[in-house]
């Protein structure tokens, strides 16, 4: 027996009340015989405490009623061994509620809850059940239990999210849960069985082990129209949205374009059933800084998440960059220049000069400086560059053939130990370690394909951060904070002279990433996938803060944790003197509400194998849990019965007393 609220036992103190009342007597115990009352006058009747209790039956009934009432509040539960479980027919029911975004369409979620209720209703008394919510992650909401009420209550704690659900990943995630069950498992999947959630390989839908699979399809005939893509150019202000209809009937929608909260344009879109349409808006006039662009469809439909799509656009500003070549006849800066020119989004304006002209150039006019071969710098140029960096400039320094004669790196002063490799001409090395979290190397694993035939072994200074090194262990890319500025040192050439990096596809993104980093993150990506994370280090924001679409602080950027983008809308990042926004859009895979066809669903369900009737040893051990039987209703019934009898007995006593008085 379990008492769920033992504090209510304090209510038993109320028994003192009837005990006191039953000692109260209107009749004075000091009773004397007197010859005649003829000359007496009645005094004020005095209620006195009798030495003995009166009306013992009535008292017993009243104490019993109070005790039962207290017990009703205490909610005792009788736990008894489950007979059916002992006989081996108990099963574990895993109820998986699909909480993907498509479940919010129409009344799918209500149907899902009804289906879950029906499942609980159909459970045998000895069966245990647990609730799992399947959305972005698979979350165990309720541990295996025999308590049906707790299970039903847990339904209310789950609701559809904004994430898609991949059924293949779901079945893999459930594998561990199914294997941990100590009873034969029945897997109930309450879902809209969205076709886009199916994995590439059908076999991934098969549950592992002997699991009986029951799919409860709650999909209806809801239609949907979604904005599939929204593309815009910050350079020319063009903006195009792709609208996709998943409806069986033709639809007419109005696409509304808003910029920074103000309505800019409206376009009418006519959509045939299942058709796709492109909506091109007029040229946007972008304001300075980040612009919040939002396109939404009106009127809305059953699935509201994909009726809106957002985009963050920053008006590009030309950024002059100085490329210093050893000799203008040489092409050591050619590849860098070509790459930068191709990076229209960054709006870089590279200008190439010879090293000997450096001393006469006003470096502070440039966003950053790239020296293709450090060996080309004479003393005056070194001094000019050093002053530029120390005063807050950014420098990318390459080490090419002209650097072979150097004993130390210009500006930063690391020791150079001759050239690496290059002996037989065919020997090369590749990138060994790469700090993918560094903003200049993020997503650039393709760099490992590059072959490095020669490089300059550098002994790193303690102030250097080696962010990329070769397989030989020699540093390839170092970063040094110098004065108020910073220096990136690439220990090989930036052209094809010592490596083939310049002809690798990754070269342009690499230069773009380096440029972004040297610009201080100005080329920050303004769009992120729902459910992805913002790598705080990669943003290059120090001491800033990030705000979610509701404007609430999400996480301080001083920490090392990444920020999970789990809401739709604009995330705002403020820090380091910059203000950036990131647009997080709905996953269009969820927009197509089309369910899996009946045949496929049947095949999927057939993948489940009915579990063996006989329990295993583990399942027998699992029957140790006893079955709860709440006694509350029985106790309330007894309270009512007790009150009835108490009233009758009390009335009986009253009648006797009235009779005496008469």
């Amino acid at each position: 027996m379990t008492l769920l609220a033992p504090l209510f036992f304090a209510g038993l103190l109320a028994i003192g009340l009837p005990l006191w009342l039953h000692r109260l007597s209107a009749e004075n115990p000091n009773k004397q015989r007197f010859s005649s009352l003829m000359l007496l006058e009645a005094g004020e009747p005095r209620r006195v405490l009798a030495k003995t209790l009166q009306y013992l039956l009535l008292l017993a009934l009243r104490i019993a009623v109070i005790t039962l009432l207290v017990l009703a509040f205490v909610q005792p539960t009788l736990w008894r061994p489950p007979q059916a479980a002992a006989s081996g027919s108990a099963r574990m029911h895993i109820i998986v509620l699909d909480t993907s975004a498509s479940m919010a369409a129409g009344d799918r979620w209500d149907r899902a809850l009804d289906a879950a209720d029906d499942i609980v209703d159909s459970l045998a008394s000895e069966d245990r059940a647990e609730l799992i919510a399947a959305g972005r992650v698979v979350e165990v909401v309720t541990a295996p239990t025999l308590d049906r009420a707790a299970l039903r209550q847990s339904f209310a704690t789950v609701e559809p999210g904004v994430f898609p659900l991949d059924f293949g990943q779901l079945m893999r995630a459930l594998d561990g849960i199914v294997r941990g069950a100590d009873l034969p498992v029945v897997l109930h999947l309450v879902t809209d069985a969205q076709a886009t959630g199916l994995p590439t390989r059908f076999g991934e839908l098969a549950p592992r082990g002997a699991v009986e699979l029951a799919i409860h399809d709650v999909a209806g005939g809801e239609g949907n129209v979604a904005i599939e893509t929204l593309a815009g150019s910050a350079l020319d202000g063009s903006l195009t949205a792709t609208v996709q209809s998943f409806d069986a009937s033709a639809r007419v929608k109005t696409a509304r374009l808003e910029q920074n909260g103000a309505l800019v344009e409206e376009r009418t879109v006519e959509l045939a059933p299942g058709a796709r349409a492109q909506v091109s808006f007029g040229v946007l006039t972008l304001a300075a800084g980040p612009n919040r662009v939002r396109v939404s469809l009106a009127p809305g439909d059953d699935l509201p998440f994909d009726d809106t799509r957002i985009l963050a656009l920053r008006r590009p500003e030309p950024r002059p960059v100085l490329l210093v070549a050893g000799d203008l006849r040489l092409q050591d800066a050619f590849f860098v220049d070509a790459a930068m020119v191709s990076l229209a989004a960054l709006a870089l304006e590279p200008q190439t000069i010879a090293a000997d002209a450096l001393a006469e150039t006003a470096l502070e006019d440039y966003e950053f400086v790239v020296v293709a071969d450090a060996g080309a710098l004479d003393d005056a140029a070194r001094a000019a560059v050093t002053d530029y960096v120390a005063s807050g400039g950014a420098l990318l320094l390459g080490l090419g053939p002209r650097s072979l004669s150097l004993a130390e790196v210009p500006v930063t002063g690391e020791t150079l130990g001759g050239s690496g490799l290059g002996g037989d001409g065919d020997a090369y090395t590749s990138i060994g370690t790469l700090d993918a979290s560094h903003p200049a190397l993020r997503g650039l694993d393709a760099l490992r394909a590059a072959k490095f035939f020669r490089y300059m072994p550098v002994t790193p200074d303690p102030a250097d951060a080696v962010v990329m090194s070769l397989e030989t262990g020699a540093p390839l890319l170092l970063e040094r904070a110098f004065g108020d500025g910073r220096v990136l040192l690439f220990t090989s050439s930036l052209d094809r002279e010592w490596n083939d990096l310049a002809v690798q596809p990754v070269y342009v993104p690499f230069i773009a990433a380096l440029s972004n980093h040297l610009l201080g993150g100005a080329g920050f990506s303004s769009e992120a996938e729902l459910g992805s994370t913002l790598a705080l280090r990669a943003l290059g924001l120090q001491g800033g803060q990030i705000f979610d679409p509701a404007g609430e602080p999400a996480l301080g950027l001083g920490g090392t944790d990444d920020v999970l983008l789990d809401e739709l809308g604009f995330y705002e990042l403020v820090g380091g003197g910059r203000n950036e926004i990131v647009a997080v859009n709905f996953d269009v895979r969820e927009s197509n509400l089309e369910p899996v066809d009946a045949a496929t669903l049947e095949r999927w369900q057939a993948l489940g194998q009915p579990s063996a009737a006989a329990p295993t040893a583990a399942s027998a051990a699992g029957t140790d849990e006893t079955v709860p039987t709440p006694l509350g209703y029985w106790i309330l019934f007894l309270v009512l019965a007790g009150l009835g009898v108490e009233s009758w007995v009390g009335n009986w006593h009253l009648r006797i007393r009235r009779g005496m008085a008469a």
Binding site: N28, P29, K31, L37, L40, G43, R46
Partner: protein, 307 residues
């Protein structure tokens, strides 16, 4: 030793002492003898015929009582009167209601009343008076007609002895019975606690007075009825009706005493109003006070009655 000879009978009159005597006859004898021994100097000595006075003859007087010697000397007719020259009748009306069973000491009111009734009967018999008895509560429980025959006293004492507390009190019935059967004049001694309405009582007893009876009322009360002492409020139960009443000690100490005194005074006033004698008897007191009152009353009445 005069001191001891007076002290011993006096001691015998104490109710507690009398309660130790088993025989009511013995009690009556002891009381009366002791009483008479102690009053040898009293004006009540001797009940033989004794000249009292001459009174002028008036029309209607019996000519047989004319004193012819005086007539011879004075030629005037006089009637000669004596004290106690005739026997009288005593009828005792004994209240045996339940309230008479009350008593806060060793002797309750009924026991005391029985002693008093027996004593009066014995005293009357000793004077050769006819003695009768009516025992009553709500009903007439015993009725013995007055008689001076030998054995009458024994019968009366026996009837008194077997009296026990009964139910309620109804003074009207014994008086009606008395009027119905006792036509001659005499003494009527009513022994009761008189818990009744004085006015109603007056209406009941007045016909006796009109009939020429000399009525003596012995009102017997316990000290707890006269001056009750309650330490705390109590639930008092009427011994006759069984009715209960919560009374406070303050009431019993003040208001009740006033009411019982007023009740006694009213009763006395009513008795005087109809020519009866009222005697309040504290049942813790010796019987001689009551006997003395009775003899005084008899003397006064006897003087009037004698011819």
């Amino acid at each position: 030793m005069p001191a001891t000879s007076e002290a011993a009978p006096r001691h015998l009159l104490q109710p507690e002492v009398l309660a130790g005597l088993a025989n009511l006859d013995l009690i009556a004898r002891a009381v009366v003898e002791g009483f008479l021994t102690g009053m040898h100097r009293s004006p009540f000595f001797g009940f033989s015929q004794e000249f009292a006075e001459y009174r002028a003859y008036t029309e209607g007087d019996d000519p047989r009582f004319l004193d012819w010697n005086v007539y011879a000397r004075t030629e005037r007719t006089y009637i000669k009167r004596y004290v106690g020259e005739t026997n009288t009748r005593l009828v005792i009306l004994l209240d045996a209601s339940a309230s008479m069973g009350f008593g806060s000491r060793a002797v309750n009111k009924l026991q005391y009343a029985k002693y008093l009734a027996a004593t009066l009967a014995y005293l009357a018999a000793r004077q050769h008076d006819a003695v009768g008895l009516i025992v009553f509560d709500e009903q007439i429980r015993e009725h013995r007609h007055p008689s001076s025959r030998p054995g009458q006293l024994h019968g009366v004492l026996h009837a008194i002895d077997r009296t026990t507390p009964g139910t309620g009190t109804d003074l009207k019935k014994p008086i009606e019975r008395f009027r119905e059967f006792e036509k001659g004049r005499g003494l009527v001694a009513v022994i009761s606690d008189f818990y009744c309405d004085p006015e109603a009582f007056l209406k009941g007893v007045a016909p006796l007075a009109y009939q020429g009876q000399d009525v003596a009322l012995f009102q017997l009360l316990d000290p707890q009825e006269l001056k009750p002492e309650l330490k705390e409020s109590a639930l008092l139960e009427d011994m006759e009706s069984g009715e209960k009443m919560e009374v406070s000690p303050i009431f019993m100490r003040s208001r009740y005493r006033e009411k019982i005194e007023a009740h006694i005074a009213n009763l006395k006033k009513a008795a005087i109003g109809m020519g009866a004698e009222h005697m309040l008897v504290d049942i813790t007191q010796p019987l001689d006070a009551a006997l003395r009152s009775y003899l005084s009353f008899r003397q006064r009445r006897g003087g009037v009655l004698g011819r």
